[in-house]
């Protein structure tokens, strides 16, 4: 992942935060999103235009503010107010908001800021104000190269989200997924990467071979995935920055369902030997391979707990697909799903408190969550076909893919990326240029 130089410094001390009145409760649904006014960032006179891939962006301050608005709105927790109703001009608002003006339009929080752009540097400064208590809550400044202006908007969005919900944000992140085109019987699949909001799509493979299930390393520099290169389905590793691909381990058979260990040192995956899939790990430094499960059933879809001590996985050792949890050395295997139907694709929350899964019952597909001991099952969404949830880094949102039913001629088929909050509210389509599947969410790019 391309590193950018990003300096963040506090403009003021963040005292008196505990006394703020404005806050968002994100444990419940989006019943009353917080009204927030996001003033366009004031562009300092004399600033240059931002040039990006042949396009010229005249008012980058307004663009950043629009991006923040979209982020916050899509989170379902905020209600960004219409800019036409704003009374105060951006430059004055940033220096000293007239809180009564903002109260009048029912804003509870206000975002102001200014940007200065030179040929090679963009400096942005923003403030978050508690309109009700008439107080400043956050004040930060960032510097980066002008073409990174979108990231500035995402980082500001994260700071606002964090300050108002008390949880880390997830806007300065990327999604890796499989881009799909062509007929259902002969789909072309490419690895694709984009920002969390769908911008900056890049295709990482050419589509010459089938690729599936990409997953980020904890530092987001590497991706592990399944490739059918030369008709040998094997787990690969891709360095996003250099584009270098390598096969992980020279197994005499198919390896699939890869994920990184939380420390990034190992890849855990299935290896199918003589038709039987078991779970293995490979140490990326020493190349030592360890067999973790040894059973005549299918064992697949392994995912580590964030502390690395446990692994949840999918097995049909009881006859049909169910979810199991074991210690990371393979001992103490316990089945955790006993509900009606089949369970697959378990994935441990980055907070450690939940496991997300796909459930199939009476020919319907559900995305759900449960505690790691199998209690507290909650189904978040039901559809004709959907699977493979992946967590936002703060463990509040799940991204997954959904396929539609085809008619008898195969028409009407599509595969799209969707997200839903842990609350079961705020289900949203994530727009992509092509069809998409197997999404995987990165961790925060900058902390």
């Amino acid at each position: 992942m391309k590193k950018i130089l990003l300096t963040i410094f506090l403009l003021f001390n963040l005292n008196n935060n505990a006394h703020s009145l404005v806050e968002v409760d994100i444990t419940r649904g989006n019943l009353e999103p917080l009204p927030i006014a996001i003033s366009p960032l004031y562009v300092e006179p004399g600033s240059s235009d931002v040039k990006q891939e042949g396009k010229i962006i005249k008012d980058v301050g307004a663009e950043i503010s629009k991006l923040i608005e979209t982020n916050l709105k899509r989170s379902g927790l905020f209600n960004p107010l219409k800019k036409e109703s704003f009374v105060q001009k951006p430059d004055i608002a940033h220096a000293k908001p007239r809180f009564e003006d903002w109260r009048l339009i029912k804003a509870q929080a206000l975002v102001t800021g200014k940007v200065t752009v030179t040929e090679d540097k963009l400096r942005a400064e923003f403030r978050l104000w508690d309109v009700v208590a008439a107080k400043e809550m956050v004040a930060l400044a960032f510097s980066t190269t002008p073409k990174n202006w979108r990231r500035v908007g995402h980082i500001i969005s994260d700071k606002i989200y964090q300050r108002l919900t008390g949880e880390e944000g997830y806007f300065d992140t990327r999604i890796i997924y499989v881009s799909e085109t062509g007929e259902k019987t002969q789909r072309f699949k490419k690895l694709a990467i984009m920002d969390q909001d769908g911008a900056n799509v890049k295709y990482l493979t050419l589509g010459n071979e089938l690729v599936l299930t990409p997953r980020f390393s904890p530092t987001n520099q590497l991706v592990t995935y399944l490739s059918y290169f030369r008709n040998l389905p094997r787990v690969y590793l891709l360095d996003i920055e250099t584009g270098v691909q390598e096969v992980v381990g020279d197994f005499p058979g198919m390896t699939f369902a890869p994920r990184f260990s939380p420390d990034g040192n190992k890849i855990i995956m299935s290896f199918a030997k003589d038709g039987n899939s078991d779970i293995y790990t490979m140490d990326l430094n020493t190349r030592v391979v360890e067999k973790i499960t040894d059973h005549t059933s299918i064992d697949t879809s392994p995912s580590y707990s964030p502390d690395g001590k446990y692994i949840c996985f999918n097995s049909d050792r009881s006859g049909l697909q169910q979810i199991y949890v074991m210690r990371s050395d393979g001992s103490n295997v316990k089945r955790i799903t006993f509900g009606k139907g089949l369970y697959g694709t378990p994935v441990w929350s980055p907070r450690g408190d939940l496991i997300a899964f796909t459930k199939v019952h009476k020919s319907r597909f559900y995305i759900g969550v449960m505690r790691p001991d199998g209690t507290g099952e909650r189904l978040l969404t039901e559809n004709y076909y959907q699977e493979a949830p992946s967590w936002s880094p703060n463990g509040r949102v799940l991204i997954f893919y959904r396929e539609t039913k085809s008619d008898d001629q195969g028409k009407g088929f599509s595969a799209k990326l969707w997200s839903i909050d842990l609350t079961g509210y705020n289900e949203r389509l994530i727009e992509t240029e092509t069809d998409g599947s197997d999404p995987s969410w990165s961790s925060l790019l900058s902390k």
Partner: protein, 160 residues
């Protein structure tokens, strides 16, 4: 009047009965599925004259049916005699109604069930490569039970 109404009712029941039987016979009669295993020939191709290239499976299963074993014995016989110099790839497939990773494992298990059976009929394992495509390469793109039954398959393909 009462008599007439009753008669009508009987007539409707009788007609419904005929319709039901007709449905049932048609399903079996056209040889499309037994249980949910495909028994038709719509997508089937041939390794050689009279030797079908594929066998079909029940949902989530990799057990070979009587008909599948018959097909595979014919494949083995042909491999032993006419196809002596050939190697083969056995492709395992699943339908679209399962999770992707489990389906990859399931396709692998199906293809290996075929490989094992061919080996018991004297074909060397070194001539038989196995590859699973999971749900990635359906042969029928419909979303209905018949399409799914055609997609739950293992196909034997000449590799040289």
């Amino acid at each position: 009047m009462v008599f007439l109404v009753n008669l009508r009712k009987y007539l409707i029941i009788a007609l419904a009965g005929i319709a039901l039987t007709a449905c049932a016979t048609q399903k079996r009669g056209s040889g499309q599925m037994q249980g949910d295993v495909y028994t038709g020939s719509a997508t089937v191709e041939f390794l050689a004259t009279g030797v079908k290239d594929r066998v079909f499976f029940a949902t989530n299963k990799s057990t070979l049916t009587t008909a599948s074993r018959d097909t595979l014995r014919k494949q083995a016989a042909w491999m032993r005699k006419k196809g002596k110099d050939k190697t083969f790839t056995i492709e395992g497939h699943a339908d679209e109604r399962g999770t992707r990773e489990y389906n990859l494992a399931l396709g692998e298990r199906r293809a290996n069930a075929v490989k094992d059976y061919l080996m018991t009929y004297g074909i060397s394992g070194s001539r038989l490569n196995v590859i699973s495509y999971g749900k990635e390469r359906p042969v029928n793109s419909g979303s209905n039970p018949l399409a799914w039954s055609q997609n739950r398959r293992s196909v034997t393909v000449k590799a040289n």
